[in-house]
């Protein structure tokens, strides 16, 4: 059971007393579900137990950074904490910088940062690393960029929507919510999932290794 989904209301996973190696914090429930779909679709391997949870729809960077800092301080067995945040109306660089600054405000040493990709940085700590992933596809014509951008990209690769349809929407969420696509990731071609969620898969690799 390498991936453990928290907030399922089940207590059994904790009883087993198996240590968690990493935890991934998503902004909202929907983001965690997308992550779960990707893990299941691609059968992502992990070196240890990884918990996946959400911050209850908190979109304030400061509040999420506070949660991350507290978990980092309290934990002993965790090697990595990953946080996935929507870019919204900022660039990857601006969003990552804002998150790093907020972590610093909450007492986390951010002196040593490894840039994995433009949207994925890892704050290296003595005991624990914190991976910051910004979700969104910048070349899509939306005012705000979110994890749903990747799903829209997948729908385009699958031929289920056309680029022209995007201009009518302000965000990917509008497109996803306005149509019934069913199990988008589950039914999609594996290669298309890999292409559209490339950066998020990178986050999973960084977290699980």
């Amino acid at each position: 059971m390498p991936f453990i989904y928290l907030k399922t209301g089940k207590i059994i996973p904790f009883i087993e007393n198996e240590k968690l190696r990493a935890i991934i914090l998503c902004e909202g429930k929907g983001d965690a579900e997308i992550l779960k779909d990707i893990v299941e679709k691609l059968d992502v391997p992990s070196r240890g137990n990884v918990a996946v949870t959400d911050c209850g729809g908190i979109s304030m960077i400061s509040e999420m950074a506070d949660s991350v800092a507290r978990v980092a301080r309290i934990s002993k067995a965790l090697k990595k904490i990953a946080v996935m945040v929507d870019a919204n109306d900022q660039t990857f660089e601006q969003r990552i910088e804002a998150f790093k600054n907020s972590l610093k405000d909450h007492g986390v040493n951010t002196d040593y940062v490894q840039e994995i990709t433009e949207s994925l940085h890892v704050v290296k700590g003595e005991r624990i690393d914190i991976a910051i992933k910004i979700a969104g596809v910048m070349n899509l014509p939306f005012a705000k960029h979110t994890i749903e951008d990747h799903t829209v990209q997948l729908l385009m690769l699958e031929g289920k929507i056309k680029h022209g349809q995007l201009r009518k929407a302000n965000s990917a969420k509008e497109i996803i919510q306005s149509k019934e696509f069913g199990d988008i990731i589950g039914t999609a071609d594996e290669e298309n999932v890999k292409r559209s969620f490339k950066n998020i898969i990178e986050l999973l690799k960084t977290t699980t290794n």
């Binding site: 968690l20 918990a51 507290r70 965790l78």
Partner: protein
């Protein structure tokens, strides 16, 4: 206030050190992680200053500790080993406390029936030079004194004798005397509260009721029972019971004995009575949530924390309840009382490690779907 503690060789604890203790310190963790043992160690330390345990029904704190977990009528000579890890009594139990910025070290040896206080070499030299007639423990590297009177006839080391507190106090200079007086008073008043007391209401009444009534603190009990336990109480009284009297609750149309109230109401009564009478000391409470519906727990905790703040009572409690942690955190926040939660983990060798967190930390973990009681997985 006790700000840190160190325990070695007691019950299942080989070594344990906890710093940054708070006005309210809550101990959580899996079964056998050392929560109760820490409370018991603090109680044992208090036995160095006052060995009696009137509410428990046992003559001494040691007797109470020997029988608290399972009543088998054990006594020092018949069951002392139960206090030691693996029943190995050769190495003394050591408890170290930082109290009012003073370091206190206590040891319980298998040849002495209550903990001895370790004093600094200079203080021992001072004692020896001031009152050469008072024998002290003449063992190499062991500067211990016995603060209590008692029968020492059977001691292995006949050179050692007890020093009554008054004598020790006289010998200390004024500054130290003041500080020692506070420490002694704090440790002297330290009480252990667990739900077994609800089956010993007679002891509780005998030990506390007169004092409570004298200051009309019985009103606090009335208030908690009324608000938290749906008891339409008008007042408390005494009713005949056999050839004695016992505490009873006056209701609008009848009077019922305290013994016949529910377990939760009786535990709340005990907690409130003890907190109402305590001052400048600590209460050690095992599972305050026992028998409690959240409604009653809120009212009891509200009263308990008000009294703790008013009477400068430090609270140490063990709990398995996330609900209790949450309620305690919220009420303490309202009353501006500091709470710290210590998650305890014991390794196979018996070393206990404590991870501290605030109620806010526990609340954040909960929001993330993580249960603070299972902190060992992360």
């Amino acid at each position: 206030m006790i700000t840190s503690l160190g325990i070695s060789g007691f019950r299942g604890i080989k070594n344990c050190r906890i710093d940054d203790l708070s006005e309210i310190s809550l101990f959580i963790g899996r079964n056998n992680s050392g929560k109760s043992s820490i409370l018991e160690a603090l109680y044992l330390a208090s036995a160095a200053f006052n060995e009696t345990a009137p509410i428990s029904g046992y003559a001494t704190k040691i007797d109470y500790l020997l029988n608290r977990r399972c009543e088998r009528n054990l006594r020092w000579n018949t069951g002392q080993e139960t206090l030691w890890p693996n029943y190995e009594t050769k190495i003394p139990i050591k408890i170290e406390l930082n109290l009012n910025q003073e370091k206190l070290e206590m040891s319980l040896f298998n040849w002495h029936h209550h903990p001895l206080l370790r004093l600094s070499t200079s203080l021992m030299e001072k004692l020896a030079s001031t009152r050469t007639s008072i024998p002290i423990l003449e063992l190499p590297h062991m500067n211990h004194v016995c603060l209590l009177d008692g029968s020492l006839a059977n001691l292995k080391y006949q050179t050692f004798s007890g020093i009554p507190w008054a004598s020790l106090s006289e010998m200390l200079d004024e500054d130290l005397k003041g500080k020692f007086y506070q420490i002694r008073s704090f440790m002297d008043g330290l009480s252990f509260v667990d739900s077994s007391l609800i089956h010993r209401m007679e002891n509780v009444e005998k030990a506390l009721w007169n004092r409570l009534l004298k200051e009309r603190l019985d009103k606090l009990v009335t208030s908690v029972l009324k608000q938290g336990y749906d008891v339409d109480i008008e007042d408390l009284t005494y009713v005949p019971s056999g050839d004695t009297y016992q505490l009873a609750v006056k209701l609008p149309k009848t009077t019922i004995r305290m013994d016949d109230l529910g377990d939760g109401a009786r535990y709340a009564t005990v907690l409130v009575m003890m907190a109402a009478l305590a001052k400048d000391t600590a209460l050690l409470i095992e599972e305050p949530e026992s028998h409690q519906h959240p409604g009653g727990l809120v009212k009891t905790l509200n009263m308990l924390l008000s009294l703790a703040k008013q009477n400068h009572i430090q609270i140490f409690a063990s709990t398995h309840s996330v609900e209790f942690i949450k309620i305690a955190g919220e009420i303490a926040d309202e009353k501006n009382v500091r709470v710290k939660i210590f998650f305890l983990e014991r390794d196979k060798e018996g070393n206990v490690e404590a991870r501290s967190m605030s109620p806010e930390d526990a609340s954040v973990l909960e929001k993330l779907g993580l249960d603070a009681r299972f902190l060992d997985i992360m």
